[in-house]
Assembly symmetry: C2
Homo-oligomer: 336 residues x 2
DNA sequence: ATCAATAACGAAATCGTTTTAGTTAGTGTC
DNA sequence: GACACTAACTAAAACGATTTCGTTATTGAT
């Protein structure tokens, strides 16, 4: 590998001058600067990041913590899209992205230790169990951290506005005349709680008495669980006219159940999802859902994180809420 | 940050001794070694990767090149699963994974230059256009490289065995009595060519005359294209009894078309996909498809790459073929 | 001519490791 | 007691950049 020393020798100057020329310091002549830059290019010089990082403490490397337990991480459309958008934004600003090692390697380091070890300048955390001691250590640490869909006091976070999203979805459903609305919600998390809150509020707004037997719980993306619970809902003496699924993917389970009972969507029963992933719009009928703005969530996370790194003193908006968008598919029937 | 110097001072020894103790060199006393390791731990010492890399030229960082043009990268189930598996394997061996920057940042470096700059020790390449000059530069470079689903002479690659996979699928379809088989194949690539080869071979094996009007082309994962082509196939005077889609996801388009013509799967027409992603098994009816072994593909890619890095002299198997597995769903009807 | 200011460059220290080549002290042998 | 060995440690030179503090030469003002 050709180093600054080589370039310096070639140009007959010192390494200091080469460094300054390449970094556009003011105290190097216009002539020399051009010559040095040109020979560096010609010789195929590439700066050595390790050496630079050693001096400057800057690695221009961001970490992304993202646990994929049982296929629900990288192969999870919602989070994958967020990551993709995060990546694009960060790269445009000159940062690279490294996965935070989570399969606890031989050295047995914690997330935090691993981030320090790897020299990551900031971390975005998404799609993990935020309540493990290890996760908490990282969130509370001195490293710049941005969390996605989870709010920790005093730390910046970017989240989908589930309160508003579910409100819009519910108002649409109620506006279509539905009064018997079932909600198969996801496992407990701030996301789930926000959506539940809106679910009950809108019911109240419309003067609808909430019914316990209409509210069930399944894991996100669990098609089998949602399928099973749908059967239960369909077997109710007074069955709902609309079923809200935890998310678009699990809605597939709901759809299976409905179809195998010989019912049609939306003629016999309405079904809605949440997320707005591509899948939801290629189903027949097109699913009514709330599209979460993953582009913006990813982009804002990156911007926030980088700003945190580059101007540590700045007080930042601590909680960024990104609104979703109601997608009126064809899976909700107008009643009455 | 606490460095070796701090640990050395605390223990009253030299940095050299600390380094040797921590790296288990033989010429440091058992007593001292234990003491040093213990104080290092107690003081929260973490090795500085940049400094180490500067000396040893080892970063324990692998690159993954993976272009996500128009949502077909990270949000692509097949490749996402491969990456996930690659990641797990590599991390278990002490390596971290960094995305190779592909959105050409301000410095305007090529893939290769970026890899060198970032100090990546090896690269796995998947899901990109292998025929760009930039990609070729990287593939032909002196960096350890493993390609997925693409074979370049003399360089190691890991690929799904599409020849065998399509053969099994076709033999199953023919075995079910189908003779009028349409194939909507993907855009040209070695994967597509392998599958086409098997498609025609099995037709020949069964003495079936290939019919041009049954062979169409759509982009992978393009539901709309597949939907449109399905209409064309259904409108044929002598329409096929079975349609092979480019992949599971695009099969959704095919299914839409079939359903909106009022036809049923598999009673009126059989439909099969390829990939075996989760989606395919939660559809109604469950899709007949070929499950590609993403776990193995990812794992072998990582093993191959790391072996290439750690024992550069070793001559390795240059092309690793990973067999898939026929998944007999419910979407192919038995004829006759 | 003198002095201060500036422009353009270089020497050398530094970042935190690794590693080579010693050095020192202790042990065993004859 | 002299010798060779070994065990256990250290000093110091890298690695490739950045950056501080000089140094020198030139310019402009007086």
């Amino acid at each position: 590998m050709v180093s600054m020393k080589d370039v310096a020798k070639e140009c007959g100057v010192s390494v200091a001058t080469v460094s300054k020329a390449l970094n556009d310091y003011s105290d190097v002549g216009e002539e020399k600067r051009r010559e040095i830059k040109e020979t560096a290019r010609r010789m195929g010089y590439l700066p050595n990041l390790s050496a630079r990082a050693l001096k400057t403490k800057r690695t221009y490397n961001l970490g992304i913590l993202f646990v994929d337990e049982a296929q629900s991480g990288l192969t999870h459309d919602y989070f994958s899209s967020i990551i993709e958008s995060f990546k694009v934004t960060a790269e445009a600003k000159g940062y690279d992205i490294t996965f935070v090692n989570c399969s606890t390697p031989r050295h047995g380091r914690s997330y935090y230790e691993h981030c320090r070890y790897r020299g990551l300048e900031g971390i975005v955390i998404a799609c993990i169990d935020f309540y493990t001691p290890e996760a908490q250590e990282l969130i509370r640490s001195d490293l710049p951290v941005v969390t996605v869909d989870y709010v920790f006091d005093g730390r910046p976070s970017v989240a989908s506005d589930n309160v508003r999203g579910m409100r819009e979805l519910m108002e649409y459903i109620c506006g279509m005349g539905h009064r018997k609305i079932a909600y198969i919600h996801g496992l407990d998390s701030s996301t789930t709680r926000d959506r539940l809150t809106s679910f009950y509020r809108v019911l109240a707004d419309y003067g609808i008495e909430p019914r316990d037997e209409y509210v069930r719980q399944a894991a996100y993306r669990d098609t089998e669980g949602t399928e099973r619970l749908t059967y239960e809902l369909l077997d109710l003496p007074d069955r709902p006219t609309c079923i809200i699924c935890p998310d678009d993917f699990s809605a597939l389970g709901c759809i299976r159940a409905v179809q195998s009972r010989g019912l049609r969507i939306p003629e016999d029963i309405s079904v809605v999802g949440y997320d707005g992933i591509t899948l939801s719009q290629v189903l027949e009928p097109r699913l009514t859902t709330v599209r979460q703005d993953t582009r913006t969530i990813g982009r804002r996370s990156a911007e926030e994180l980088i700003s945190l790194i580059e101007n540590p003193r700045t007080t930042l908006a601590e909680k960024i809420l990104v609104p979703g968008e109601l997608v009126r598919g064809e899976s909700v029937r107008k009643l009455g």
